[in-house]
């Protein structure tokens, strides 16, 4: 059994699986159940001055029969009194002293208000703070959440206030609704944050009911943009995590959030630079019980590779992401079709024909059937056919030797410069 213990900027937990600040961490009852199920830590639903929520708050994005490939929400922070939350936090901590409980905070942009909130919350034995600079709707209209997260100067300033007052590590949670995530992350680091977490939800409108023209979800016929999350946002989150992981000016640990549902997702976040992960949508979809498989799958993966501790893989593939100009132009792959696995749906043919490079032929066989045959000379190795093929591993992308040494665009441009 590999050592799954994780440590994010001094906050220890028995495994790297945390629940993100969201409906699953709304109450002591839920957090107790989550800890019983095996979650290593939780970030409590954001505390602050209690708000009033609207009903009709979430909407799911379905792809064909797959429910909730993403969701969005127009829910705000906790709608329960601070005292109630704090006494439940204390109870949970007493019952599960080995787990991490981080308090998520949101406050108006005033020093005293933030200091007061920090003071009150750390009276209970929490393990850290997470500053919610990410909530993209409602709170941002009131100058909080993403309204702070989109201004690096405000991030740095508020972070400083909290770090000054705090006895425990401070994480800054970032909004993805910015053009370059490294700027807010650097500001958090400047302000003294011990870690950053990302991503919060992405501005989104889930849809419009084509019958009634009501937005989805709607509140009495109207809606506001919501926050988008779930499996479909994972690629965006991975990119932002990796951008920060590779940026020397950020330089602090990262808690990865966005679309985590399987142990493979966890491994990907860790490899690209996250120290742990936080989960929301997957639990909203399936319940706390998914953590068992996260742990089991991650364990078997690490054991099979002889990796002793989860910390060893953090950032393992971070530097495999580079700029396009560094990619090897002489690396060539082509599609190869396993005729015995092919079920003759012709999806690869029409994809390549209409949207790639017209290099799959339907070749009539003596028996009357057709074989799908790749013209390897013209195949550009784009992968599209293998992406649309319904049969796993039927189309393999294989490397062919170009006989030329590796050369990037940067190198080629430089070489051409020498010649020219």
């Amino acid at each position: 059994m590999a050592d799954l213990r994780s440590n994010l900027a001094g906050i220890a937990s028995p495994n790297p699986f945390w629940l993100a600040s969201a409906p699953p961490t709304n109450s002591g009852y839920q957090v107790m159940r989550a800890f019983e199920a095996g979650w290593g830590g939780v970030v409590w639903k954001t505390l602050g001055t209690p708000i009033v929520n609207v009903t009709s708050r979430f909407a799911g994005m379905n792809y064909k029969q797959n429910k909730m490939v993403a969701m969005n929400n127009i829910e705000l922070i906790t709608d329960r009194p601070l005292d109630e939350n704090l006494s439940e936090i204390a109870k949970c901590k007493r019952a599960f002293p080995d787990r991490a409980i981080v308090a998520s905070l949101m406050e108006a942009c005033e020093r005293d208000a933030w200091r007061e909130l920090v003071k009150r919350v750390q009276e209970v034995d929490i393990d850290g703070f997470e500053l919610n600079f990410g909530c993209p709707h409602g709170m941002s209209e009131r100058g909080m959440g993403a309204a702070v997260g989109q201004h690096p100067d405000l991030i740095a300033r508020v972070t400083e206030w909290v770090v000054e007052a705090s006895r425990v590590p401070v994480i800054v949670k970032l909004t993805p609704n910015v053009t370059d995530i490294r700027f807010p992350a650097r500001a958090a680091a400047r302000g003294g944050a011990h870690a950053v977490s990302m991503i919060n939800t992405i501005n989104s409108i889930m849809g419009v009911d084509v019958e009634t023209w009501n937005p989805i979800p709607h509140v009495d016929g109207k809606s506001s943009h919501g926050g988008y999350c779930g499996p479909a946002v994972k690629p965006i989150a991975l990119n932002m995590v990796n951008d920060c992981a590779r940026d020397p000016e950020v330089g602090i640990p990262i808690s990865g959030i966005g679309g985590v549902e399987t142990w493979q997702d966890v491994v990907e976040f860790l490899l690209l630079g996250a120290s742990n992960v936080q989960v929301c949508t997957a639990v909203m979809h399936h319940g706390f019980r998914i953590v068992e498989e996260l742990a089991d799958g991650l364990n078997r993966y690490l054991d099979a590779r002889g990796i002793r501790s989860v910390a060893e893989i953090v950032g393992g593939a971070a530097n495999r992401i580079t700029s396009w100009n560094n990619l090897n132009l002489n690396y060539k792959i082509v599609a190869r079709i396993d005729q015995s696995a092919c079920i003759h749906c012709n999806k690869c043919y029409i994809a390549c024909e209409d949207a790639a490079h017209q290099c799959i032929d339907r070749v009539r066989q003596p028996g009357g059937s057709t074989n799908l045959v790749v013209d390897e000379g013209h195949c550009v190795g784009c992968n599209l056919c293998s992406m649309v093929c319904p049969v796993d591993e039927c189309i393999e992308m294989v490397r062919v030797d170009t006989g030329r040494p590796a050369q990037s665009w940067k190198e080629r441009a430089a070489a051409m410069g020498e010649v020219g």
């Binding site: 064909k64 029969q65 079920i343 003759h344 749906c345 012709n346 999806k347 043919y349 029409i350 319904p390």
Partner: protein
């Protein structure tokens, strides 16, 4: 529409639930140049109609289906899909083909329920076409000819349109309402209908050709022939088609008794078996009725489809193979028993023949006998119409034209006994083809 008729109990096949439809429609891969489409005799664009179901466009889906197949509603229920579209589905390899027939039924049923108008007649061409027989072949030809703008008159010997779809296929597999809805689609396009007219008897071919620019012969086949054994004239001996028709129209078939013998092993036999068992059970208030199929060859030689055979087994039918009826025994003018003789298969140059084994005769007590040994050919009709035929199978060329110029033929009347049974979907496709040929003929001749 006719008065409601009894469905004789549970449908053979229940419709899919909405959830099943969603799952199934989304499972379809939307193949390109899809094998299912190529396996359908009418070439319904299956991938397209299923994608439309998945997208919630049921009216559009029904149009795709009915455009290719004017009998799309009945075909959804009676096509041997295992041998056709579903047999070719790419998922066949894993034995989980898309349930194409059921999805087709879902889409067409919605159009039927909503009264969606799917097609319009074409601009009038001034040409007139007579259709002889308002079954699947005749209706399909009429539908497409109307869409092309030709004036169409359907001459139908019976009271209602639909042919065997209306009168011949048991109601729990194909309700009469479905058959009549399809006919109604054609009538709504402006096809004129003359029912109770038997061409050849009430109207001569020359009279037709004098009045119409072209003719489609789509008169199907005849009743079930005599077996050719003593006792066939006894009360209690039925022609399967007449029997099913009576049942389908809700008419009394009288007391069937508790032992029913059906002679034959094709799809008419299966329908007669299941139908008579349901009627006998209903008549006896759910009591037991022994309904037995007697066939002179073996299980492997049955021409009924696998799904039909399975259905008959589920319905509690018994099967006796390798025995042929020698004579029907009566008492007081009514059937009392059948004497059978055992047979064995002998291979000769003509194939396998069932030959009786002498000394193996045995007598089974029987109350009702249903002859279901296939359908006879309308030899006399074609002779009278002056149409060349081979033993009652109308002779046609590639374009489906008969030996008389301007006279085309489609459906069961050109069906030569081959590898498979006559099918509604083939009749529909031939009706379409005849319409196309006539269109070319008329426009060329104009």
């Amino acid at each position: 529409m006719a008065a409601p008729v009894p469905s004789l109990g549970e449908p053979f096949h229940r419709p899919l639930t909405h959830l099943e439809v969603k799952l199934e429609a989304n499972r379809c891969l939307y193949c390109y140049d899809a094998p299912c489409m190529n396996a359908c005799p009418t070439h319904i664009d299956v991938a397209s109609f299923i994608a439309k179901i998945a997208a919630g466009n049921l009216a559009g889906s029904a149009r795709v289906i009915m455009d290719a197949n004017p009998m799309g509603a009945s075909c959804a229920r009676v096509c041997p899909t295992d041998q056709l579209c579903e047999g070719a589905c790419v998922y066949r390899k894993d034995d989980t083909p898309i349930r194409i027939g059921d999805l087709q039924r879902y889409a067409v049923d919605a159009a039927m329920r909503d009264g969606t108008r799917l097609f319009e007649a074409g601009a009038p061409t001034g040409h007139t076409v007579a259709i002889v027989g308002g079954g699947p072949a005749g209706l399909s030809a009429a539908r497409d000819l109307r869409r092309m703008g030709h004036a169409v008159t359907i001459f139908e010997a019976r009271e209602m349109l639909g042919g065997l779809n209306t009168y011949g296929i048991v109601p729990f597999r194909l309700p009469i309402e479905t058959a009549l809805w399809e006919a109604e689609q054609v009538v709504e396009l402006g096809a004129e209908v003359r029912t109770n007219v038997r061409v050849g008897r009430d109207l001569a071919m020359d009279a037709l050709l004098a009045e119409y620019d072209a003719v489609v012969l789509a008169c199907g086949m005849g009743g079930v022939p005599q077996i050719g054994i003593p006792g066939e004239d006894l009360a209690g001996v039925w022609d399967a088609l007449e029997f099913i028709e009576q049942a389908k129209l809700g008419r009394d078939v009288g007391a069937l008794g508790s032992r029913i013998a059906v002679i034959g092993a094709g799809n008419t036999a299966i329908d007669a078996l299941t139908c008579s068992r349901r009627i006998a059970r209903q008549a006896s208030g759910g009591g037991e009725a022994r309904v037995t199929m007697y066939y002179r060859r073996g299980e492997r030689q049955m021409s009924a489809y696998g799904f039909e055979y399975d259905f008959a087994k589920q319905e509690g039918i018994e099967f006796r193979f390798f025995c042929a009826p020698a004579r029907i025994l009566g008492e007081g003018g009514r059937v009392k028993a059948i004497e059978f003789v055992r047979t064995r298969l002998e291979t000769s140059e003509g194939g396998e023949a069932a030959v009786p084994v002498s000394g193996t005769e045995f007598v089974e007590p029987i109350d009702t006998v249903v002859r279901a040994i296939g359908q006879s050919r309308l030899v006399e009709t074609f002779d009278r119409l002056g149409i060349a035929h081979d033993g009652g199978v109308v002779r046609v060329d590639e374009s489906l034209q008969t030996t008389r110029p301007g006279v085309y033929a489609a459906g069961d009347c050109i069906f030569a006994k081959g590898t498979r049974e006559a099918m509604v979907v083939e009749a529909a496709e031939q009706g379409k083809r005849a319409a196309r040929s006539i269109d070319t003929y008329l426009r060329g001749g104009a």
